[in-house]
Amino acid sequence: MRTLNQNILFNATGVKQVEEGKKEKLIALLVILPGILSVFIFFYIFSGWNFIISLTDWEGFIPSYNIIGLKNYIQLFQDPLFWTSLKNNILLIVLFVPGVMIIGLCMAVLLDQRVRAEGIFRTIYLLPFSLSFVVTATLWSWMYSPRVGTINFILGKLGLTSLRKGWITDPNMVMYCIIIALIWQFAGYSCIIFLAGIRSIPHSQTAAAMVDGASNFTIYWRIILPQIKASFITAFIIFMCFALKAFDFIWVLNRGGPGYSAHILGVTMYKETFSFDKFAYGATYSTIILLLSLLIVVPFLFRIYKEK
């Protein structure tokens, strides 16, 4: 009898628990709802709104506008400034993304050689990444300063006076200067991503290869690199997205100048919108930036979560 009672009691509380669970789940959802809802409004509704703005002729701060369809996009594709910005942006992507990944990977492989004081090296490599773009742009305009800058000073010391340049005042050099400075800033971050990948490989595998007489190079090339594909993809996505939305560093450095030589999509978007008050046209640029970013991220995200 006792057990029966216990059973009934257990079942009863079980049922009650399930009901309570449902109610509780609802309350929990209500608690997270404001957070999630405002995040979704901020990120998704605004993105949609931005697209709608790009279909209007809104100029200036006060919104009084008509829907004009895709005219802004037609204008955009005929705008030489758009193509200049896109060209500069592609240059940034093509050099910055592989550059920062290769240097970060080199740092990670070097740090993986049972280095003494590894933590100190790692911390130092990551320091540039702690800085705001406003700070790094200031530091690098000092480095590149034509008259008193560090780079020209070092070149002079090395006897390479002929290589001294105006750097960021030279329209043909400025994008490369920016790319080098950004690689400098992100290399430590890239190193951390790859180091985490390398460290996640079980030690037994490399030990086994070593027993078989594999050289250090073979171990990395044949065993470690193929297994850190996930790190490569992560780094690629992060740096691609950064290169597409980059703005701060270039704006603070020289407002995208001299001339239009360092205008990339993010810079031109800001200028059209807030310097010339062409809100609708600026929104057209941002829609393009968003589409390019989504093109890179979405396939990757869905693949990752489908695997899980």
């Binding site: 628990q17 995040v39 919104p63 990551l126 320091l127 702690s130 000092w142 985490a196 829609t287």
Partner: protein, 271 residues
């Protein structure tokens, strides 16, 4: 007899080259900030100051005092709210899944990759409708929301990997509800993700520039990065003042990276 292999020497040589490359711009910043204007002209950019002076350091903090306070306000309010929401959202998505929760979570993570340019114009519009445009309040509100996706991601990853479902089930059997389980079981185990999420948010908010540039106006409302950029624009030739300002702006994040770097690294490498 000390016997060092040449390959080890090469290894440390390369490591040190990377160290020099990483630190050189910072080094020139520090030495220049400590020089008088005359000495900046007379000495090279990398030699230490012969006669160090705090003059420009003090001058720049006087210019940046108010923006520094503004940025502190932004950091504290932003971190508190997004860490709390992030933790609870992470907990629900990790331990109390519901139909469609995985897709909802993908949408939250996707927010991390949406370029800010898309939100600039609608945000300006919304803030002026709310009467907050130009005020610090606009940024306070913004950063509260802005950090939620990243915090949610950090907490969910941590709860997935480090807190076994059996803990939650055990609490359930003992009659604890979702909220009680969170408070009594999950929260006390969440110190690490709280530290990681908070530090990452501090760095992100402190260093952010574009939102302050767009949403605030007037000297009293600027965050420190925008004030610093203005400093750069208005004193072109005064390199020592600019470097002193840069030093103030970078101080908090440098301290975090140097002394609490292991938490930052855990955050960047996915906990």
């Amino acid at each position: 007899m000390l016997n060092i292999k040449p390959s080890r020497i090469l290894l440390y040589g390369l490591l040190i080259i990377f160290v020099i490359a990483s630190l050189l711009p910072l080094w020139t910043c520090i030495v220049t900030a400590l020089k008088s204007s005359q000495e900046v002209i007379l000495t090279t950019p990398i030699t230490p100051p012969i006669d160090p002076t705090m003059e420009k350091i003090i001058e720049s903090i006087n210019l940046l005092k108010k923006p520094l306070m503004n940025s502190l306000i932004l950091v504290f309010s932003g971190v508190m709210v997004s860490a709390f929401f992030g933790s609870f959202i992470g907990y629900i998505f990790s331990k109390h899944r519901f139909p469609g929760s995985i897709y909802m979570f993908i949408l939250i993570v996707l927010c991390l990759y949406i370029p800010p340019q898309v939100q600039l114009i609608p945000m300006v519009r919304t803030m002026s409708n709310l009467g907050l445009f130009g005020n610090l309040g606009a940024l306070v509100l913004l950063y509260m929301l802005f950090g939620i996706p990243m915090c949610a991601f950090i907490f969910k990853t941590f709860y997935d990997d480090e807190i076994p479902d059996s803990y939650i089930n055990a609490a359930k059997v003992d009659g604890a509800g979702i909220w009680t389980t969170y408070r009594r079981v999950v929260l006390p185990l969440s110190i690490l993700p709280f530290v990681v999420a908070a530090l990452l948010q501090v760095v992100v908010i402190w260093n952010d520039f574009i939102w302050g540039l767009v949403l605030t106006s007037g000297k009293a409302n600027l965050p420190i990065t925008v004030a610093m950029a203005n400093l750069k624009g208005s004193f072109v030739a005064e390199w020592n003042l600019q470097m002193a300002g840069a030093l103030w702006v970078s101080m908090p994040t440098l301290i975090i990276f140097i002394f609490l770097g292991k938490y930052i690294i855990r955050g960047y490498s996915g906990l």
